[in-house]
Amino acid sequence: MRFAILMGLAATAWGEAPDAENGRHLFARYGCYQCHQLEAQGAAATGPRLGPRPIPFANFTKYVRRPTGQMPPYTAKVVKDSELADIYAFLESLPAPPPVKDIPLLNQ
């Protein structure tokens, strides 16, 4: 399934829209989940939540290439621009969680 990417995200070199499903696969393959978890929900000790509603794509790309914090850099030699677009599409596609008030275990 393909998701149209908003916020001015360019299409891939072949003119295709970014592929969120492939993005999920790449998110695992490139080890993003090791710090940010499989649903990109983040973990306090290792890395912040990335989605849904990720930061703007330009900022996302800039940080991945040249992180200013602890994250190791992912250069274009390792992750292509088109792959980053797919990963971003995956982050955008993530569903919002249920409201906290609807999760009894979080209201203890």
Binding site: Q37, Q41, A45, P97, P98, L105
Partner: protein, 635 residues
């Protein structure tokens, strides 16, 4: 010419002195019957006079030195000896289980010396006193060394007795030589507080009491005694030597001038911050920190190395590192790493750091770390400049500091502090609500999120008298309500993997007599170091619920290899080599069942977790251990 060795010489001496045994005060009941029997038997010398035959070799001994050693251990109040059996302390072992009746101390059978020490480590943090560990002086101590280093870094008292045979003329050929060493303590001397090699029973008695006192004086650390094989096994003709009286040293309190100066700085501060490391050695420390924080309306950042401060207290702002940047006075209380707390550090190709505090922020430290330090192992962390340093125990100093603060508070100042307290309470509530929102992401994910795991467990235990004996960092610290000292005990100290499973069991052993429900969130890699600890749990019926945080990896190391691969632009496809626990995935429920422990799982779906925890808790509340294998997200 042949020389009688020390063992045989003492044996014959014992035969002539057996009558001297009667009427001596003893601690162990089991000694009485054999002593009466020996006193009534004809001596070898008498038999020789009657028969003209050479004296028969003495083959038995009623009163070995190890019995005295057991009396010493009883006098010191040990409840348990955690040990994997070893011939170099066979005398002591036998005296524990027979002469001592296997009670106080009771022999806890461990399957690895690292487990023995880690069990004692966990026990000490619940019980507030050491358990004893027996180990071989050579092969046992080498196994035990990592766990000793953890306890040393964690400032926890552990009391180790190792067997050894100094006298080469006494040694059996073969393995007893491999198991003997000139200076047994040398191997771990860098990370035990004190060690000794007693040469006589009076020496053993003195050193045993001295070792206990040293271990229990903050900063608390492991100690080690060598129980020489001859000293254990040789019969004793003389009366037992006296056992010195144990009087523990009072923990050092900060000097009055420094306490007054710290109070003045804190009362005048607009944004003070209290940083808590290993403050609360006892429940009194928890109470004392609450009182200081409330008196000052000062936020507490609890680093979680002990149960220092209630998690839901309005002044608990442990997730608020931003407070450090705003602070004008910061008090570091028994911190492991003051410098690291006050700086941001980047682990990139060029390592950089940035100080978080303002240039004029006043820094105060109260720590016994200033009283005792060793050089070789570098657990003392980077040097932090401070404005006032009290070489003192924080728990012991806090009441005096609070009183000094109270004396300086005017009515106007109190009103200002109340306002500050209200703002901090609002910030605490905001942080709690933010944590709940964060936890909701990935709530139904498979593998199961660690937030979901934590809250499913919390739901089942919160109404009980519980103790989270490992795995309290992360979500529990943010979302559970901790308000009692025994509800968590910090972590390993030295970050040596293999601590959690045995230390949890040792803590659960201590909790057992109080009827507490001990639970642990158990990492898979940690349990794989020495899974025999499960058998120990089953054998000794130690109630402990282990909920596996099974991310099927040494996850910290996955991230490190990934960091290197990215730095070198090689892709991370191979980062799992050597760091993951896949192919095959470990079936921990089956492992547990094979050790005699109730095992359930693997649990893959979040909806299945709550019922599984309920069933396992029923087992634990009947006095047995249980394990649930939960396949989780990485963190």
């Amino acid at each position: 010419m042949s020389w009688p060795n020390r063992r045989n010489f003492l044996k014959s001496a014992a035969a002539t002195g057996a009558a001297a045994l009667a009427g001596k005060p003893q601690l162990a009941r089991a000694q009485e019957a054999p002593r009466a029997s020996a006193a009534s038997a004809p001596s070898a010398r008498a038999r020789e006079a009657e028969t003209g035959a050479p004296p028969a070799e003495v083959l038995t001994a009623d009163r070995p030195g190890s019995d005295f050693m057991v009396d010493v251990l009883k006098r010191l109040g040990f409840e348990y000896v955690c040990s994997n059996p070893g011939s170099s302390f066979r005398g002591l072992h036998e005296s524990i289980v027979n002469y001592g009746g296997n009670r106080d101390p009771e022999f806890i059978t461990c399957c690895h010396e690292e487990s023995s020490v880690a069990m004692a480590h966990g026990y000490a943090k619940i019980e507030g006193k050491p358990a004893c560990v027996f180990a071989h002086g050579t092969v046992g101590l080498q196994h035990a060394a990592m766990a000793l280093y953890n306890a040393y870094c964690d400032r926890a008292p552990v009391y180790v007795i190792i067997g050894n045979l100094v006298d080469a003329a006494s040694r059996r050929p073969g393995v007893e030589w491999e198991h003997s060493v000139q200076d047994a303590g040398a191997m771990v001397r860098d990370f035990v507080k004190w060690d000794d090699l007693p040469a006589s029973l009076p020496h053993f008695g003195e050193s045993a009491v001295r070792a206990y006192k040293i271990a229990m004086t903050p900063p608390m650390m492991p100690v080690l005694l060598v129980a020489d094989g001859d000293l254990q096994e040789n019969p004793v003709a003389e009366a037992w030597p006296p056992i010195p009286k144990l009087t523990l040293a009072r923990a050092p309190q900060g000097d009055s001038g420094s306490v007054a100066e710290a109070a003045r700085l804190l009362v005048n501060a607009e944004n003070p911050v209290l940083l808590a490391g290993r403050v609360a050695r006892t429940p009194a420390g928890l109470k004392a920190l609450i009182e200081l924080a409330e008196t000052l309306a000062a936020p507490v950042i609890d680093q979680g190395e002990r149960m220092n401060f209630p998690s839901r207290h309005p002044l608990n702002l442990s997730s608020g590192r931003g407070l450090i940047a705003e602070a004008d006075v910061i008090v570091g209380l028994e911190l492991t790493d003051f410098w690291g707390t006050l700086h941001n550090y980047r682990d990139q190709l060029r390592r950089t750091s940035r100080r978080l505090t303002k240039p004029d922020t006043k820094l105060i430290s109260i720590t016994t770390g200033d009283l005792y330090l060793k050089s070789n192992y570098q657990d003392f962390e980077r040097f932090q400049e401070v404005d006032l340093a009290m070489a003192a125990d924080a728990e012991q100093t806090l009441p005096a500091l609070t009183e000094a603060v109270k004396r300086l508070l005017t009515a106007d100042r109190k009103r200002a502090l109340e306002e500050r307290g209200r703002k901090l309470a609002a910030a605490h509530q905001k942080a709690l609500e933010a944590a709940r929102v964060e936890a909701s992401y990935g709530w139904d994910a498979s593998p199961i999120s660690t937030a979901r795991l934590s809250m499913e467990l919390w739901a089942q235990i919160k109404g009980k008298d519980w103790s989270l004996v490992s795995g309290a960092g992360g979500w529990p610290a943010r979302l559970w309500e901790f308000d009692k000292h025994h509800q968590h005990i910090g972590s390993s100290g030295g970050a040596g993997v293999g601590y959690s499973a045995p230390a949890s069991l040792g803590a659960a052993l201590a909790n057992r007599k109080y009827g507490r429900v001990s639970v642990t969130i158990q990492n898979d890699g940690d349990l794989m170091y020495a899974p025999g600890v499960l058998w120990t749990a089953a054998h000794h019926k130690i109630p402990l619920l282990s909920v596996m945080h099974n991310n099927r990896a040494y996850h910290q190391e996955v991230m490190h290899i990934q960091r290197m691969a990215n730095r070198h632009q090689r892709g991370i496809e191979n980062a799992g080599i050597g760091t993951t626990l896949l192919d095959p995935s470990i079936d921990f429920a089956t492992v547990a069942r094979g050790m005699g422990v109730y095992g359930a799982g693997p649990i893959l779906e979040a909806r299945d977790l709550g019922p599984a925890i309920r069933r396992a808790l029923e087992v634990v509340e009947k006095g047995e251990p249980a394990l649930i294998d939960v396949v989780t997200q990485p963190r």
